[in-house]
Amino acid sequence: MAILAQSRVCPFKEDKDLIKQIDYKQYKFLKKFITDQGKIIPSHVTGVSAKYQRLIAAEIKKARILALLPFAVDPRYS
């Protein structure tokens, strides 16, 4: 896993304009950082730096409160 994390570059450092999209109102963008089950994908998989992973996690949790994103999805009933 460590090798994979090294080979990836944070998408927010490559494109600074993406940082503005880390917002609970733009929940369709945040969907890229959750799994089909609704879990937040860890940063060592996506390659997002710790600074922006904290922001993403906070905004996803806000979107969950407003039912824009799910807390959990049971694949048997979806």
């Binding site: 998408p11 806000k62 994103l69």
Partner: protein
């Protein structure tokens, strides 16, 4: 004075007249505390990610306002006590995050462009994940054969790699495996 924004979900059964009533009540409350409504928008009726009070749909309303910090609690309790508001969220924002009427259309255009660039990154990730899975499959094969002696294990690793490369010769190599096992038992 700080900038805040509130998003609240209204019961889907309410008609537009009642919606405007609830909206104007909140706006009046803000102005009564010497606050100021800066931006107001309706996101329309949306499907909820999960049911709230047995409702699958809800009407989203959005508002940005300027208010003294100590008075925010009054608006919060108002929303909690109103049974027609399913859910609400008040957050503090920077002055740079305040939206204009022009932003409504621009935001939608920007998202389309950037979604495309992110998808390219995701495709790269998927490729590397596939490589991982292949490695895991190989290791699983090795684990199954732990019971057999070490010499035979090494031979079978080579055999399993050959199986992935050439599908047609699977049967003949399986025969080879069986003969190897017989040999090890004899030893």
């Amino acid at each position: 004075m700080n900038n805040y924004e509130i998003v609240y979900i209204i019961h889907p059964a309410l008609q537009e007249g009642r919606l405007i009533d609830i909206k104007s009540k909140i706006h009046e409350k803000i102005t009564s505390f010497k606050g100021k409504v800066l931006y107001d928008d309706s996101w329309g009726k949306k499907k909820l990610a999960y049911a709230i009070d047995k409702q699958k749909y809800g009407t989203y309303l959005f508002c940005q306002f300027l208010l003294e910090g100590k008075d925010v609690q009054a608006i919060n309790t108002d929303c909690e006590l109103n049974s027609n508001i399913l859910r609400h969220l008040i957050t503090r924002i920077d002055s740079s995050q305040i939206l204009d009427e022009k932003d409504k259309k621009e935001v939608k255009k920007e998202t389309n462009k950037k979604e495309a660039s992110i998808e390219v990154v995701k495709e790269k990730e998927e490729v590397s994940e596939v490589v991982e899975e292949e490695k895991e499959e190989v290791s699983e094969v090795v684990e199954e054969e732990e019971e057999v002696s070490e010499v035979v294990e090494e031979e079978k690793e080579e055999v399993s790699e050959e199986v992935e490369e050439v599908d047609d010769t699977i049967d003949s190599e399986n025969d080879n495996k069986e003969t190897q096992e017989e040999n090890s038992e004899e030893k």
